[in-house]
């Protein structure tokens, strides 16, 4: 008896070692891609930290107006100047990080949870399930993403919650398509047939055997969608159906600054640069992750 236990333990240890090795390999491939991947990864970390400790480092309250100090140029007092209501631009940019990341992570999780489930169903059961789900996906994809989220968010009344749901629903097709494709090719594998032969139920096969095999691609898609979510949130806030003022959002700041483009171009240029930095970083980190986790996907996403 004891021998058997020992052996089992050993197998577990070997599995753990393999997992550790694979993780180390992934990390080394990812960071071995050169300077740009490292820089982008650090940019994301910096923005996440900024979002978390915003109240500690922001020099002013982002929503406090001081009408004696409107439209100030950058100075030692206000490092990036003030906007048309005298609010400190630097503080608003720092707080804007919060909204962008928060909305896009939540929307991503929302889309992933629904999209993964529907994609699994469509890919695994095929026939009617696939027909219905995939044609609905096609239909949704023929409505331009920005129009879809714009109308949905405004119908739901704007605000953080409706934005998250609207962007989330808008992103569901990307997950459905990817899961559908992956499951279609995975389900022909021997391990699925084996699982079925020993009498495992469909739901067990779906969630225990097929889903874990899709994780690498899902992580890549999630990362790239984070960038897309930030762009959409910014576009909605720019168009004025997004998060309600006075909450600081990058898109809203660009829109506010647009009216003062001649007086102080920095007001709308700077938040835009933050969006670009963060989105480009997510895209490049996503590319790096794809090369590290799932080389088959190169050039497909």
């Amino acid at each position: 008896m004891e021998d058997k236990d020992l052996k089992l333990l050993n197998i577990e240890n070997v599995q753990k070692d393999n997992k550790k090795k694979r993780f180390r390999q992934t990390v080394s491939v990812f960071f071995g891609r050169g300077l740009i991947a490292k820089i982008c990864f650090s940019i994301i970390v910096v923005f996440i930290v900024l979002a978390i400790i915003a109240p500690l480092i922001a020099p002013y309250d982002p929503n406090i107006q001081s009408l004696q100090e409107t439209k100030r140029k950058p100075s030692s007092e206000h490092l990036l100047g003030t906007d048309h209501l005298g609010r400190d631009v630097l503080s608003r940019i720092i707080y804007g990080t919060r909204v962008s990341l928060y909305a896009s992570v939540l929307a991503g999780l929302f889309a992933a949870s629904i999209g993964i489930f529907l994609g699994l169903l469509a890919g695994y059961y095929g026939k009617i399930a696939s027909l219905v789900i995939m044609r609905l996906t096609d239909a949704q994809l023929s409505i331009p993403g920005i129009v879809f989220t714009l109308v949905l968010a405004s119908v739901m009344g704007g605000g953080l919650k409706s934005i998250v749901i609207a962007i989330g629903i808008g992103m569901i097709p990307t997950y459905i398509r990817m899961m559908n494709g992956l499951v279609l090719s995975l389900k022909e594998n021997d391990f699925v047939t084996a699982a079925r032969l020993i009498g495992q139920t469909n739901s067990l096969i779906l969630f225990k055997h097929l889903l874990p095999n899709c994780f690498p691609s899902l992580i890549v898609l999630f990362t790239i969608n984070l960038g897309a979510g930030i762009m959409l949130e910014a576009a909605l806030s720019f168009l004025g159906v997004g998060i309600n003022p006075p909450t600081a959002t990058w898109g809203g700041m660009v829109s506010d600054g647009y009216a003062l483009l001649i007086a102080n171009p920095l007001l709308s240029i700077l938040p835009g640069i933050c969006i670009i930095l963060l989105v480009v970083s997510f895209n490049i980190v996503g590319d790096g992750l794809r090369d590290a986790l799932d080389p088959r996907l190169r050039g497909k996403l």
């Binding site: 740009i36 044609r135 609905l136 096609d138 239909a139 949704q140 994809l141 023929s142 409505i143 331009p144 993403g145 920005i146 129009v147 879809f148 714009l150 109308v151 949905l152 405004s154 119908v155 739901m156 960038g227 762009m231 910014a234 576009a235 720019f238 168009l239 004025g240 159906v241 898109g251 660009v254 829109s255 647009y258 483009l261 001649i262 171009p265 709308s268 240029i269 835009g272 969006i275 670009i276 989105v279 480009v280 997510f282 895209n283 490049i284 190169r298 050039g299």
Partner: protein
């Protein structure tokens, strides 16, 4: 050939039907009364009821949907706006050409520039030129359209003063003025799409360029230009064309933002105005028509390429 076109058309019809259901449902998912929302709380219940009957809003949702679709198909009639008493179909016919007159040029521009950049980066792989263009492309992918437009306005409109910062002129009225006013919106619209096409072209070209028939062509002494453009590019373009069809929505959707920034009276501006006014019939019609444009352009790309390349046809069998 006919078989391919028929199948493609049938699928398109199905998509159009689903899109019309989507557009209809988008505006009806919330409880609440569209007339009250449009007219405000100040009106009496009697007026609201009259409006409900006039706009068929008292009928069940399915009947409302059927009436809406019937009007569009038989009479091209999208109904009447609740707020302004305008004919929605008339509005669409007014605004659609404006949006298309910007979308098609930026589509053509994006395809030309995107394919060109893609080929250059693939042929010069690994050089500073490749790295430079690829880097710019990945920035282009991550730059919000509204920011590109505002930066363009700041740089070319306010600083250099060489381009107008807003406005629109119909090409049939004055073509030179149209070009002058449309040049910045069209370029802004194209930025993201150029990046998408360039990346796709680059990766496909790299795949094709290493194949045997290209080596054979080179070994036969064909000039490099003819190898690249006549032999490699033709095959590399198939997946690119598919991407162009699918991603057409980038341009059509982008026109909502561009029209707002440049004050262009197209469908995008109408959509934004109607969203602000909560004029739900117009919003519904805008969503439907915008999607129709996307689906139509997609169909056009697919069929024209199916005619050129038999492999596309075969994949539909």
């Amino acid at each position: 050939m006919l078989n391919f076109i028929m199948k493609r058309l049938l699928l398109t019809l199905l998509i159009v039907f689903l899109v019309s259901v989507f557009a209809f449902c988008l505006m009806h998912i919330l409880p609440g009364d569209p007339v009250r929302i449009a007219l405000g709380d100040g009106v009496s219940q009697k007026v609201v009821d009259e409006y409900m009957v006039k706009y068929n809003l008292d009928k069940p949702l399915v009947t409302q949907y059927l009436l809406w679709v019937e009007g569009i198909i038989t009479r091209g009639d999208f109904g009447q706006s609740i707020l302004y008493d305008e004919d929605v179909g008339e509005l669409m016919r007014d605004k659609l050409p404006v949006t298309i007159s910007l979308s098609i040029p930026s589509m053509i521009l994006s395809v030309i520039l995107g394919v060109l950049f893609g080929v250059i980066t693939a042929v010069k792989r690994g050089t500073w030129l490749d790295q430079g263009i690829s880097f710019i492309a990945s920035i282009g992918l991550g730059t919000p359209l509204f920011w590109v437009a505002i930066f363009g306005i700041y740089l070319f409109g306010l600083q250099l003063r060489i381009l107008p910062i807003q406005g629109y002129m119909s090409p049939s009225q004055n073509f030179v003025q149209f070009l002058y006013k449309a040049i910045m919106p069209v370029i802004c619209l194209s930025v993201g799409f150029v990046a998408v096409i360039a990346r796709q072209t680059r990766s496909n070209m790299l795949e094709v360029i290493n194949q045997d028939y290209i080596r054979t062509a080179r070994a036969n002494g064909l000039p490099e230009r003819s190898v690249i453009f006549k032999h490699a590019l033709k095959n590399a373009l198939i997946p690119v064309i598919t991407i162009i069809g699918i991603q057409m929505r980038i341009i059509v959707g982008g026109s909502v933002i561009i029209e707002r920034i440049f004050n262009i009276p197209g469908i995008g501006s109408l959509l934004m105005r109607s969203i602000t006014n909560r004029d739900y019939l117009i919003v519904q019609a805008c969503v439907f028509v915008i999607s129709l444009v996307t689906v139509g352009l997609n169909l056009l790309v697919d069929i024209s390429y199916g005619i050129i390349d038999p492999r596309i046809r075969r994949s539909w069998r």
